[in-house]
Amino acid sequence: MKDLGSLTYFLGLEVHSSSSGVFVHQHKYAQDLIALAGLQDSSSVDTPLEVNVKFRRDDEDLLPNPTLYQQLVDSLNYLTITRPYISFAVQQVSQFMQSPRHLHLVAVRRIIRYLLGSSSRGLFYPAGSFIRLVAFSDADWAGCLDTRRSITGWCMFLGDSLIS
């Protein structure tokens, strides 16, 4: 058994403790992801998705090699641990893991360009907050154009800290 001391790096999460609370982020993981996509020198964008764009299953041509797309989307999924606000964008692109098309890859690259400008953001758990469970959820109506199913989103707070 090896004691690794106080918690600093755990499953890709970087943890910083201070008297005001705990800050958790995935800066290194985001940087690795940007390098994997080869977008280090691109310009950053302010939003992860374009406004009012709906994706369909059969837009444009199929990607010749879907592995990179799947790799990027899975990595983005892991990144939603400390960045729940990109969850919706990641959900949109992860619908097409089976047969990704060029338009979907463009959307993925936009999410990663958004991360480029904000790679050190994360979750803050304030000290001394009252432990009380609060949950919010919302759903749209037949939001998916292919299946006409609804998309649900939720968030849960324990005191002032986001947990799910």
Binding site: K2, L4, S6, Q71, M156
Partner: protein, 268 residues
């Protein structure tokens, strides 16, 4: 015209040949072997699934895939020697002669290279794994489900720790799966490097080994009972809130190829 014929090869057992009456052996031999279809093998190039992480390409070092390749190199021999030494120190198995009704499961060496965070070679690693795919349900194993942490649990614990000002500690357990207790009697064929000539001696496992189907569960049971045993005796002496602080034990496991590295995060 018959279609493609499939042929299933049975392992030739020495006792089977000797026990056969002479006339049947003659009959098999005298059968006309007119058509010998070639074995069809999958044309797919097998490679590791690299969807889930950033794979490191090691062009300079070749990781052997089987024992016969590895035994030719000094570095891998040393790694296997170390692993065998660790297993013997841990008293993982007893050497017994194989009971007649039991068919021992096989074992396999798995090799990997450990890199430091800056990409420099750290060490050669060899791990002996049991072939869990040869285990039979109800005989060699029963329940296999083991609990793993959800990310929500990690969030919750960090949130509670931050809110109440607890310090967070981290630890790593080496060879975690070798500590699990086995309820079943499992017989394993000895690793190829243990004996120079073929023997009828097999390894009866005392502790769980990597590759067994019940290994994660056995390890989790061990972890849980050890934690509770140490917590309960502390809780007798001190107020209850201390116990409540200790009971939040977060446990998570990471699958990385065949090697399982386990990290447990405990709140003090």
């Amino acid at each position: 015209m018959p279609g493609i014929m499939y042929e299933r090869h049975r392992p030739t057992l020495p006792f089977l040949e000797t026990n056969l009456p002479p006339n049947t052996a003659h009959k098999i031999a005298s059968e006309p072997s007119t058509h010998q279809p070639a074995l069809r093998r999958s044309m797919r190039v097998s490679h590791a699934l690299d969807r889930y992480g950033f794979s490191v390409t090691l062009s300079t070092i070749i990781v052997p895939s089987c024992y016969s390749q590895a035994v030719q190199h000094k570095c891998w021999q040393k790694a296997m020697q170390e692993e065998l030494q660790a297993l013997q120190d841990n008293h993982t198995w007893d050497l017994v002669s194989c009971p007649l009704v039991v068919k021992p499961i096989g074992c396999k060496w798995v090799y990997s290279i450990k890199l430091r965070s800056d990409g420099i070679l750290d060490r050669y690693k060899a791990r002996l794994v049991a072939l869990g795919n040869r285990q039979e349900y109800g005989v060699d194993y029963e329940e296999t489900f083991a609990l793993v942490a959800k990310m929500t649990t990690v969030h919750t614990i960090i949130a509670i720790a931050a809110s109440l000002g607890w310090p967070l500690h981290q630890m790593d357990i080496k060879n975690a799966f070798l500590h699990g207790d086995l309820k079943e009697d499992i017989y394993m064929a000895p690793p190829p490097s243990l004996f120079s000539s073929s023997t009828s001696v097999v390894c009866k496992l005392k502790w769980s080994l990597y590759g067994l189907k019940q290994a994660p569960r056995a390890w989790f049971d061990k972890f849980l009972t050890t934690c509770f045993a140490s917590l309960l005796c502390k809780a007798n002496m001190i107020p209850l809130y201390f116990f409540a602080q200790h009971i939040l034990v977060l446990f998570s496991s990471l699958f990385m190829s065949m090697t399982l590295s386990l990290q447990a995060l405990i709140l003090y």
